[in-house]
């Protein structure tokens, strides 16, 4: 019964343990490793349990379902929780060498685990207000991570980041209060039942747009994306990887949950809105990725393309596109983290973020270069790598529901992704010798090993997609039929 909360309380417990001796570096590393490994094994355990026994629902304090706060581990949330824990494992491993001693001594690992608590909680919760609470939990942690170290750039950007998020959070509470005033409940399963009985689709649609704006801020969708490129590029690479891989996905997940479960009434309006904004976000991402000469910014703009694609696939609203969306989200979490780690290594060996100053890495660091190349193939979606399957399903779903132009644009945008990434490869790895820093070999290897492992995992995710496929299919079925969700939350049907 309680297994839904394990991926949340295990990292919390280890984060508390880490707070006892912040300056003991060995203690910090050992406890953080044990913590993230046990979180990951817990989430895999829950994933398997959900697959065999059906969704795990726990309502805090043994209250009945619509009254207490419900935590729901269903096939969608556990899939995301597992991916988030996996990504965090690699980022913590990479941080052992990439994060300086000063940050390590100031609760770095504790805060990373606390952020995972918030992210896993936001994925698992079945209560709209509790979703807000978990948003705040990971936002607090992300404020701390983005300001930790206190460089001038970080202070400047984290201030903006905080303002944007405080504004979005205020809007979130307003939206939740409006919804509560209309339907009289905050339990998501209960809302989904009552919304259909309520004969006022217009007001619910208006509220859905308010909440959509909140999540669009978090996911960095088209008109609300402006804060992301500068805010994400300020902190050091592992933190950037953590933000880029996880935080926007929480926004996407919230849109997915609310728009399939709570607001499936006026789909012609809401889903057209999603489609337009999704495509616009992709356009922005493509322009940014091609225009930028800063390697970090190129990867950051690639986040937009992925988020746009995911929102587009939500708007298609059929089983195939949902399966593709779930599959692609996990792929994108892994590959974005991998790309950030790779770019971190690139900046580390060259000492610059400017693509124009780099060159000739292929001859000096061949393993690194070819890993980067494989990562490019993964993210662009060249078969048999992992991006291909997700994109194929989304495009197929698009064609099936008659959105030909949008689907062709998705295909075209993957070409642009490939172009923007290959550009890094050509300039930094192929061309004449550029700038190089003298890098101690052991440090380079220590940073390379987690990166290569993560890229290998991405490749394996594509090749052995049949292993993940049953979980994805469960999720897609659940998304198509929101009554299933309310049945197992409210009535305990497995």
């Amino acid at each position: 019964m309680n297994s839904a909360v394990f991926p949340i309380i295990v990292p919390l417990f280890f984060a508390i343990l880490l707070m006892f001796a912040p300056t003991q570096r060995v203690y910090q590393k050992i406890v953080a490793t044990i913590g993230i490994l046990s979180t990951l094994s817990m989430s895999v355990f829950v994933l398997q349990k959900v697959h065999t026994d059906g969704a795990q629902v726990v309502t805090f304090g043994s209250w009945q379902a619509p009254f207490g706060i419900t935590m729901v581990a269903d096939s969608i949330s556990t899939l995301f929780v597992t991916a988030a824990s996996l990504v965090t494992l690699f980022i913590i491993w990479y941080s052992f060498t990439a994060i300086d001693r000063e940050r390590e001594g100031n609760y770095y690992y504790a805060v990373v685990l606390l952020m995972l608590v918030g992210v896993n909680g936001a994925f698992t919760t079945g209560d709209l207000f509790n979703l807000f609470v978990f948003f705040e939990v990971f936002l607090m942690a992300s404020y701390l991570l983005s300001v930790l170290g206190g460089t001038k750039q970080q202070l400047k950007e984290s201030l903006k980041y905080m303002f944007i998020n405080v504004f979005a959070s205020a809007l979130f509470v307003i939206g939740v209060a409006m919804l509560y005033a209309v339907v009289g409940t905050l339990n998501m399963a209960d809302i989904s039942v009552r919304v259909t009985q309520l004969e006022q689709p217009a007001i619910v649609t208006a509220i859905s747009v308010v909440l959509f704006i909140v999540f669009a801020f978090k996911a960095a969708l088209f008109p609300f994306f402006f804060w992301l490129p500068s805010a994400y590029s300020a902190p050091p690479i592992p933190i950037m990887a953590l933000f880029g891989a996880l935080l926007t996905k929480v926004g996407v997940y919230s849109i997915l949950r609310t728009y399939t479960l709570l607001f499936p009434l006026d789909t012609t309006f809401t889903h057209t809105l999603l489609m337009i904004l999704g495509i616009a976000t992709m356009v922005v991402g493509c322009i940014g990725a091609l225009a930028s000469w800063n390697v970090v910014k190129i990867i950051i703009y690639n986040i937009f393309i992925a988020v746009g694609l995911l929102i587009y696939s939500i708007s298609l609203f059929n089983e195939e596109s949902f399966a593709g969306m779930l599959y692609y989200t996990v792929h994108d979490m892994l590959i974005k983290a991998a790309l950030f780690l790779l770019v971190g290594l690139l900046v580390y060996v060259t000492g610059t973020q400017q693509l124009r100053q780099m060159g000739g890495i292929l001859t000096r660091y061949p393993t690194f270069a070819w890993t980067f190349f494989i990562a490019i193939l993964c993210i662009a979606g060249i078969p048999p790598f992992s991006g291909f399957i997700g994109k194929m399903l989304i495009v197929k779903g698009g064609f099936a529901s008659g959105h030909i132009a949008g689907s062709i644009w998705v295909l075209f945008s993957s070409l642009i992704v490939l172009w923007s990434m290959i550009r890094i490869f050509i300039y930094a790895f192929w061309s004449k010798e550029g700038r190089f820093e003298t890098v101690p070999k052991p440090t380079y290897v220590k940073m390379l090993v987690p990166t290569v492992t993560l890229v290998a995992l991405c490749v394996a995710y594509g090749i052995f997609s049949s292993v993940v496929w049953p979980y994805v299919q469960d999720g897609a079925k659940l998304l198509m039929d929101p009554t299933l969700y309310s049945q197992f939350v409210l009535k305990g049907v497995k």
Partner: protein, 140 residues
């Protein structure tokens, strides 16, 4: 503070303990009456703040050598531990248990696990508030 402020110094010795005891009272009243760990913790922190105002940072640190970040961690462990009783007992997470006990001196008293959780809240609030005050007021 280097002024020779007799009134403040003398009052602080008395008032600090009054605030401390009142914060414990508010904390214990919390279950059925207004109060609880959060308010109690804030009161306690304000009492400590009075010490900081009266004496200086070094003196207070010598008087109360408490590492507030560890206090926060202990508080969080209390809260998480209380919530996890349900996991061990086979009930839902955060399940609340209570019963009546015959205690010496106090007689028939009702004991709740919620109070353990509130102890955690109390410690976290005191710890966090003092950490904030120390980090803002600590450097000149």
């Amino acid at each position: 503070m280097n002024q020779n402020n007799v009134i403040l110094n003398t009052l602080t010795y008395v008032v600090f303990f009054m605030i401390f005891l009142f914060s414990i009272h508010i904390f214990l009243a919390g279950h059925f009456a207004p109060g609880g760990g959060f308010v109690g913790g804030l009161l306690m922190a304000s009492g400590l703040l009075l010490l900081y105002v009266t004496f200086d940072l070094e003196t207070v640190r010598k008087m109360l050598p408490i590492n507030y970040s560890i206090l926060v961690a202990i508080g969080l462990l209390f809260a998480l531990g209380t919530a996890s009783i349900g996991l061990v007992a086979g009930d839902a997470f955060f399940t609340h248990y209570f019963n009546h006990f015959q205690l010496p001196l106090l007689g028939d008293s009702e004991l709740h696990t919620a109070m353990l959780f509130d102890t955690g809240v109390y410690l976290v609030v005191v710890g966090v508030t003092m950490m904030i005050i120390e980090s803002i007021g600590g450097d000149q």
